[in-house]
C-alpha cells in the first residue's frame, strides 16, 4: 500500500466511522429511514408514489445551477442536483457521485473514483470527463457564481485518469478540499445540455426538472435512474413528484399548510413555533433545525476608534461585547428557540468546541466604566442590518438599545443588500447585525471570513491577527479532526478576545408537515435533500 493510499484510507475511515455511527443515531430518532449500508429495520417497505407540495420561503433567482446559488435549505432546484460528494443528516461528508477518494501525502492531489451507475437526467453517464467539464465551467467567472467559484479557487488542474477516475491537483496543500466538492454549491449538470441550463437544467440529483414559473411554482418529477437505494434495494426517491410553491410570508406558508394546500413548509416564524407545536400536534409534525446559520455582530475595525491598530481599539470593542445581552436577544428575537454562541458552531454541531475561552460576559457597567476610563462616553457608533432578514433587524434594534444603555451614542439603520455592500466598501458603518449560513466544513468559515486575506473579511470587518491566520492555515493542512478542533478552539478564543466579531446565536429553523408524510427529516442545518434521507426517503402514509 502506498503512502498516498494509506493516508487516504485513514482520512476516509475517520469520515465514515463517524458519519455512519451518527447517521444511525439520527435515523433512529427520525423513526427509521432508508439508507445505503444500514442494517435492515423491521418496518414496511415504503412504496413509490405521491406528489409532495412543498411551500418554501424563497424561489430560485435563476435556473442555471452554476451561475446561481442553489441554496440547499429552500431552493427547489436543490433536489435536482448532486455532486462528487454528498452530506448526511448530521452535515457530515459522505460519498455522492464519487464512491471513493484518495488524498496524497502532500495534500495537493485528490483522486476521486466515480460510481459507474450514475446518469444525468438526459441519460448521459456521469463520467470523469463530465466531472472535469463541470469543475472547469464552475471555475470560469463567465459561467459561474462567485460563491461556487470560491469553492474551487485552490484548484490548479483537473485530469481524467480513466472513464471513472478524476484527479484534482491543488495550488496549495489542503486537508479540507472534500468539503469543497459537495453538491452545494459544486453540483454537476450534463455537459451536452449546457445550452438549456438557463431554461431547463439537466442535473443528476434525485428529481428531474419539469417546469418553473417564477414566484409561483416549480415542478420536479422522480428521476427513475437515480443511484441511491434503500435497505430493501428499492431505488430512491420514493415520491413521484414535488411541487414547490414559493410563499415569502411565514404566515402565508403556515396557513397553506393548515388549509391542506401544501404538505410541507419550511421556515416557520419563531413566534409561531411553540404555540403551533402545542395546538396542532395531532394534525402536523414539526422538525427543528437547530443551526441553519450563525448570527454574529461584526464590528468595523478597518478605521476609526474601533480599528485593530487604534490605541484603545481592543478595549472599546470589548466594551461593545460587554454591552451585548445575548439572553435578551435569545428571548426577544428567537423566542427562546436558539442556542447562544461563543464560537461559530453550536452545541448541535459535530464541530462544536466546548473549550472556547474569552467570551465577554454581559456587563453594561463594565462597558460604561471602560468608556469613562477612556473619556469616550457617547462615542458614536452606527448599527446596521440587512432588510431581507427580520431577525437581523430585530437583533440590531436590541443591540442599538443595549449600546445606548452602555453609554454609546448609537444609531440604527436598515438597508437592502446592495446599499449595505456600498456602505461596507465606504467604511460607512459601525456594527453590522448579520449571519452566515452553516458551514459543514469549518474552513469554509475560518478561511473565508476570519482569515485576514479573506475577501469577505477585507470588505467588511477588516480583522487582522497574525496568530489567528497562522492557526487557520495550519488547520487547513491538518488531517486529524481532533487536532483541527483544537486549532479552531484557539482561533475562536483569540477572536473572542479581540472582539472584532461577536457571535450571538445559532439561527434556528422549524419545518412543519402533514402527519401523512413519513420518512422525512431535514439535515440538522436545514438541507432537505440529503444522503439516505430528507426528501429522498420521504413518502406518504397511503403508499406505505
Amino acid at each position: 500500500m502506498s503512502e498516498e493510499q494509506k493516508g487516504s484510507d485513514a482520512g476516509r475511515a475517520s469520515l465514515f466511522s463517524q458519519s455512519r455511527r451518527e447517521f444511525l443515531g439520527t435515523m433512529a430518532v427520525a423513526g427509521g429511514a432508508a439508507t445505503f449500508g444500514l442494517p435492515r429495520m423491521s418496518r414496511a417497505q415504503p412504496k413509490h408514489g405521491g406528489t409532495l407540495r412543498f411551500a418554501t420561503r424563497v424561489d430560485g433567482a435563476g435556473l442555471d445551477p452554476h451561475r446561481n446559488i442553489v441554496y440547499y435549505v429552500s431552493n427547489p432546484m436543490a433536489a435536482t442536483t448532486q455532486g462528487l460528494l454528498d452530506i448526511d443528516q448530521k452535515m457530515e461528508i459522505v460519498p455522492g457521485v464519487a464512491e471513493e477518494w484518495d488524498i496524497s501525502d502532500d495534500l495537493k492531489t485528490y483522486t476521486f473514483r466515480l460510481r459507474k451507475d450514475v446518469e444525468f437526467h438526459n441519460g448521459r453517464t456521469v463520467d470523469a470527463e463530465a466531472v472535469k467539464w463541470n469543475l472547469e465551467r464552475m471555475m470560469d467567472p463567465a459561467t459561474s457564481h462567485a460563491f461556487t467559484r470560491a469553492s474551487l479557487e485552490d484548484v490548479e488542474s483537473i485530469e481524467v485518469d480513466d472513464k471513472y477516475t478524476v484527479r484534482v491537483r491543488l495550488l496549495q496543500p489542503s486537508a479540507v478540499f472534500l468539503g469543497n466538492v459537495i453538491y452545494y454549491p459544486v453540483n454537476l449538470i450534463a455537459p451536452d445540455s449546457v445550452d438549456q441550463a438557463d431554461t431547463h437544467p439537466i442535473g443528476c440529483g434525485p428529481f428531474k426538472f419539469v417546469s418553473w414559473k417564477k414566484y409561483a411554482k416549480t415542478e420536479l418529477v422522480r428521476f427513475e435512474n437515480y443511484f441511491e437505494s434503500d435497505e430493501f434495494g428499492n431505488r430512491l426517491p420514493y415520491l413521484d413528484a414535488i411541487e414547490f410553491f414559493p410563499k415569502r410570508e411565514d404566515q402565508v406558508r403556515l396557513t397553506a399548510l393548515r388549509t391542506g394546500e401544501v404538505d410541507l413548509i419550511e421556515n416557520m416564524a419563531f413566534s409561531d413555533v411553540t404555540n403551533f407545536k402545542q395546538s396542532y400536534a395531532s394534525e402536523f409534525q414539526t422538525w427543528d433545525v437547530p443551526q441553519v446559520g450563525s448570527g454574529h455582530l461584526n464590528i468595523n475595525v478597518k478605521s476609526g476608534p474601533f480599528a485593530m491598530d487604534a490605541p484603545d481599539g481592543k478595549l472599546l470593542r470589548q466594551a461593545v461585547a460587554h454591552a451585548i445581552d445575548k439572553e435578551a436577544i435569545h428571548q426577544a428575537v428567537f423566542e427562546g428557540l436558539a442556542y447562544t454562541l461563543k464560537g461559530y458552531y453550536s452545541e448541535a454541531s459535530p464541530w462544536h468546541m466546548p473549550g472556547i475561552r474569552n467570551e465577554k460576559e454581559y456587563d453594561p457597567e463594565k462597558s460604561r466604566s471602560i468608556l469613562r476610563k477612556l473619556n469616550m462616553e457617547n462615542l458614536p457608533i452606527a448599527v446596521v442590518s440587512r432588510q431581507a432578514f427580520e431577525y437581523m433587524q430585530n437583533t440590531a434594534e436590541l443591540v442599538h438599545s443595549m449600546l445606548l444603555d452602555a453609554g454609546f451614542k448609537a444609531t440604527n439603520e436598515v438597508f437592502d443588500n446592495p446599499v449595505l455592500r456600498q456602505k461596507y466598501a465606504n467604511n460607512d458603518w459601525g456594527i453590522d447585525s448579520t449571519a452566515t449560513s452553516y458551514r459543514f466544513e469549518p474552513d469554509g468559515w475560518y478561511s473565508r471570513w476570519i482569515l485576514s486575506t479573506a475577501a469577505e473579511n477585507e470588505l467588511r470587518v477588516g480583522y487582522k491577527n497574525e496568530q489567528v491566520d497562522k492557526l487557520i492555515i495550519e488547520a487547513r493542512g491538518t488531517r486529524d479532526r481532533n487536532k483541527r478542533l483544537e486549532l479552531y478552539t484557539e482561533v475562536e478564543s483569540l477572536v473572542n478576545d479581540d472582539a472584532a466579531l461577536i457571535y450571538t446565536h445559532a439561527v434556528p429553523l422549524t419545518s412543519a408537515g402533514t402527519r401523512r408524510l413519513k420518512g422525512y427529516q431535514p439535515a440538522f442545518a436545514g438541507p432537505y435533500s440529503i444522503a439516505g434521507g430528507g426528501i429522498r426517503t420521504a413518502h406518504f402514509e397511503e403508499s406505505a
Binding site: 438557463d198 409561483a216 410553491f245 410563499k247 446592495p418 470588505l459
Partner: protein, 316 residues
C-alpha cells in the same frame, strides 16, 4: 373620433420618451452597485470579475450610450436579458403582467356593479337608513387596511370554512375553474376597498347632479324620475367615477405588492420589488416602462369612454 384617438396616441410618444428617460435615470441612480450583486460576496472586489461583468452587460459604457442602446432595442421589442435569470426580460414580464392585469381588472370589475348602484341609491335616498348603511359600509371599506381585510378573508374562507385556497395562482388558460378559486380572495380584497371608494364618489357626484337646473327642468317637463336618474343624472355623475376608477386600475397594476405577497400572487409588482432588491436593472426598467405605458393607455381609454357617457364632451 378616429382623428382624436390617433392624435392622442401621437401625444403619447413624448410622454413615453420622457418616461423612459426618467425610468432609466432613476434606476441607475439607485444606491448600490449592480456588479456587487452580480459578482457575489466573495468576488465583488475582484477587478477582473467586475470588468467582465460590466462588459457583458454593457455597464462599462457612458450612461447616455447605455440609454441609447437600451432604447433602440426596446423600440425593436427587445428589453434585454435579466441580469439574474439570464432569461429575456420580455419572457419574465409576459409571465407576470397577465396575472396582475387579471387580478386588477377582476378586482375593479367586482367593485363597479356593487358600488355604482349603491352610491346612486344612497344619493337618491339621502339621509335614509339605506344611505346611512351605504355610507357606513363604505367608510369601513376605506378604513380597513387592504392587507388586514385580506387576512380576515383568508381566516374565514380558507381556514374556517375551507371553501377557497388561501394563496397561490393558476392561470385561467390552464384551468379556468381552478383559477377562479384562487382569484376570489385577492379580487375580493381589492374589490372591497375599491367599491368603498367608488360608492362614496358616485354618491357625492350624484348629489351634485340631482341639484342641477337641468334636473329641475326635466322634472317640470314631467319626465319620469327613473328616466331622469338613469338616463341623464347618472351618466353625468359617472364621469368622475370612471376617471377615478381608471386611475385606480392603473394604480393597481403596480401597487398590489402587499397583496401579491399575502396571496403568493406572481404579479408584476412583486417582480419589480424583487428586481429592485437585486438591482436587476433590465427588469426594473422594462417593468416600470411597461406599467407606465399601460397607465397612459388606460387614461386614453378613459378619455374615450367620456365620449360615450356624455356626447357633449369635446374630442378636440
Amino acid at each position: 373620433m378616429l382623428v382624436y384617438v390617433l392624435n392622442r396616441i401621437l401625444q403619447l410618444i413624448p410622454v413615453v420618451f420622457v418616461l423612459s428617460v426618467l425610468v432609466f435615470g432613476f434606476v441607475h441612480a439607485l444606491p448600490g452597485d449592480v456588479i456587487d450583486s452580480l459578482a457575489g460576496d466573495e468576488a465583488a472586489e475582484d477587478p477582473e470579475v467586475r470588468a467582465a461583468l460590466e462588459k457583458e452587460f454593457g455597464l462599462d459604457q457612458p450612461i447616455y450610450v447605455q440609454y441609447a442602446v437600451w432604447a433602440g432595442k426596446v423600440l425593436q421589442g427587445d428589453f434585454g436579458k435579466s441580469l439574474v435569470t439570464r432569461r429575456p426580460v420580455s419572457v419574465e414580464l409576459l409571465e407576470r403582467i397577465p396575472a396582475t392585469v387579471y387580478l386588477a381588472v377582476v378586482g375593479i370589475g367586482l367593485s363597479m356593479p356593487i358600488a355604482v348602484p349603491l352610491g346612486t341609491i344612497a344619493a337618491i335616498r339621502r339621509n335614509t337608513p339605506t344611505d346611512y348603511a351605504a355610507q357606513i359600509s363604505s367608510l369601513i371599506g376605506i378604513s380597513i387596511p387592504e392587507f388586514w381585510f385580506a387576512i380576515l378573508c383568508i381566516m374565514l374562507f380558507s381556514l374556517h370554512l375551507g371553501w377557497l385556497p388561501s394563496s397561490g395562482y393558476v392561470s385561467p388558460l390552464d384551468d379556468l375553474g381552478l383559477s377562479l378559486t384562487y382569484l376570489v380572495l385577492p379580487a375580493l380584497a381589492i374589490g372591497f376597498r375599491q367599491a368603498a371608494y367608488t360608492t362614496r364618489l358616485t354618491r357625492s357626484s350624484m348629489l351634485d347632479e340631482v341639484h342641477k337646473e337641468y334636473v329641475d327642468t326635466a322634472r317640470s317637463l314631467g319626465l319620469p324620475e327613473r328616466k331622469i336618474i338613469y338616463k341623464y343624472t347618472l351618466r353625468n355623475a359617472l364621469i368622475p367615477t370612471v376617471t377615478i376608477s381608471g386611475l385606480q386600475l392603473a394604480n393597481l397594476l403596480g401597487g398590489t405588492v402587499v397583496l401579491e405577497s399575502i396571496f403568493s400572487w406572481p404579479g408584476i409588482g412583486l417582480t419589480i420589488y424583487q428586481a429592485i432588491q437585486l438591482r436587476d436593472f433590465p427588469v426594473i426598467q422594462a417593468g416600470v416602462l411597461v406599467l407606465g405605458v399601460m397607465v397612459v393607455t388606460i387614461n386614453l381609454l378613459v378619455d374615450i369612454l367620456y365620449r360615450f357617457l356624455n356626447p357633449r364632451v369635446g374630442l378636440s
